[in-house]
Point group: C2
Chain length 327, copies 2
């Protein structure tokens, strides 16, 4: 029975709690929070909620610690720090900063003799794996990633920072014609605008200038300026009723050709359709915790990503069971 | 530069030759055949074609030998035999006999200190990986595999053995309603007949009893009796014109739920659409040859499947390049 701890208690951590419930080989032992523990109510009975600054007292009592902080401000410091005392798994997802995060975690985990799996989830994570498998098998092929239809929390947050905006849900939506064009095998060159559209459902303050808010959204650099964006103003009640979920998903599509003269088209496509992005990401993290312990048992230490994990290590089944049941 | 040999020279081996052409880190060094080498014309210039029974003379001159024999009669003996002298990769695809094949190859490869990757390809292979990833991440989910539309060589061969049949191409076709039902997340119980249909394009001898042939096909146990099968008689010219290719593909679909009470549906789907089944399978084998050498370099020996291979080992890119470019 693997003894699991959770650091941080938001949507992702609640997803981990739910995922652990389906895993007969793992047990949630403690949740650590920066908030006042007496104010944090978790789903699992009889599991203690403890202050994060007491976490090192648990260093000999947990097999793996799942880090459920955010990539922007929590994980860059938290993962290297906690990898000094625990085997850890995080979901660091700021793609451009992964090499830097890897180096910091690698130093900490190698130094302490622990194992750290970073950037687990679906992108980075399962989507990365599919980009890798497809491009390794078809070296001269083209790989495309489409996200959505799904809620982007970063984009929702960006809109919420605009004065006069009370709340927002932003959906990222792949352009169907772009997907069709990629699937056809023509390897089109697609601009950012051609691949995805964005749709913001915005709750504005009663006295706000809606025209100004819409302009500020549509022209926001990095987030919206390069996309065709639709802004729809709704009430807080409508937002709660129609946009309470956190769905997401997308496609990794790879098209290439084989044959002496590239005469045969080949297409590989991976699709996720997720009702709950944080719960699915959490389920990936939990399987990576299992792999981390398997790898630690073989003497591995240092920092890894899902690209380094032998798939069999993610499963509760033995090698013999896997060979008989699903190979 | 990895030095690669090919044992056997049929469709799969020609696919390997084509795939190696796209790999800057590998070089085809020799092809071994049971036929008279002077009668075997290969695609690559200046590569020797040699008798299979001289192969052990090459034991110190090849990094990996790709075994391109058939699963029914070649590989069960060939893979254990050659794993005594070479690092080998095969595409053994008789699912029910994989554990037995694994044991035989494991003994040979461990004894000789070589590495063997068996059952590489797409099913077993990439489809197995997707069944594994999906079921490890969503433990209480349902996994479905649909094959086709594609040519099944085993079924085509079975029809060709019927007296009066000169030639046949058999297509396996997934039932669209079954796929829709699975995608909906209802986890339907599907019979063999509900999942796939079969379509045989048959060239009959001029004097053959077509009605008798059709009956013999449709009632053939294991191959056709459990399916709705369509038989279409065509001429040899039509077969060559319209059915010369070996397309295949399919879907691995996994549907499950997350949340404290399973309230959120999650769907994972993997699709292959292949113009050439043997060329795609060959491309997978070639990437496994690269992984085998990486693993051998770290001291691994014995028998492995793709479930045991860390994905990064399949790619020509370094860990740092992968992290920067596709994680």
């Amino acid at each position: 029975m693997l003894k699991i701890g959770i650091a941080g208690y938001g949507n992702l951590a609640r997803g981990v709690e739910c995922a652990l419930r389906s895993c007969a080989d793992m047990q949630l032992c403690a949740v650590f929070t920066r908030r006042d523990p007496s104010c944090v109510k978790i789903l699992t009975e009889a599991v203690p909620v403890l202050p994060l600054d007491s976490i090192t007292e648990w260093k000999d009592h947990l097999d793996v610690l799942l880090l459920c902080g955010g990539s922007a401000s929590d994980l860059p410091a938290m993962t290297p720090l906690l990898a000094q005392h625990f085997n850890v798994v995080d979901s660091f997802d700021t793609h451009a900063r992964i090499p830097e995060h890897f180096s910091a975690v690698q130093r900490a985990a190698e130094g302490s003799g622990h194992i750290a799996v970073i950037s687990a989830g679906w992108d980075p994570g399962l989507f990365s794996l599919n980009r890798l498998y497809a491009s390794a098998i078809l070296p001269n092929s083209s790989t495309y990633t489409f996200w959505g239809r799904g809620v982007s929390q970063g984009h929702s947050d960006a809109v919420r920072r605009i004065p006069g905006v009370l709340d927002c849900r932003q959906y990222t939506i792949p352009v169907p014609q772009a997907i069709d064009s990629v699937r056809s095998g023509h390897a089109p060159q697609l601009t950012t605008r051609q691949k995805h559209t964005r749709h913001c459902f915005v709750v504005a303050a009663p006295d706000a200038d809606l025209h100004r808010i819409e302009e500020q959204i549509k022209t926001m650099p990095n987030y919206f300026a390069d996309y065709d964006t639709t802004v729809t103003f709704i009430t807080q009640q409508e937002l709660q009723r129609d946009h309470a979920g956190l769905p997401h998903g997308g496609h990794v599509i790879n098209t290439g050709a084989t044959g002496w003269n590239g005469e045969h088209k080949q297409r590989i496509e991976y699709t996720l359709e997720l009702d709950s992005n944080p719960e699915f990401t959490a389920s990936v993290l939990v399987s990576c915790a299992r792999a981390a312990m398997r790898m630690a048992g073989r003497g591995c230490k240092g920092c890894y990503t899902m690209l380094d994990i032998a798939p069999a290590d993610l499963s509760p089944l033995s090698r013999e069971e896997l060979m008989a049941s699903l190979l």
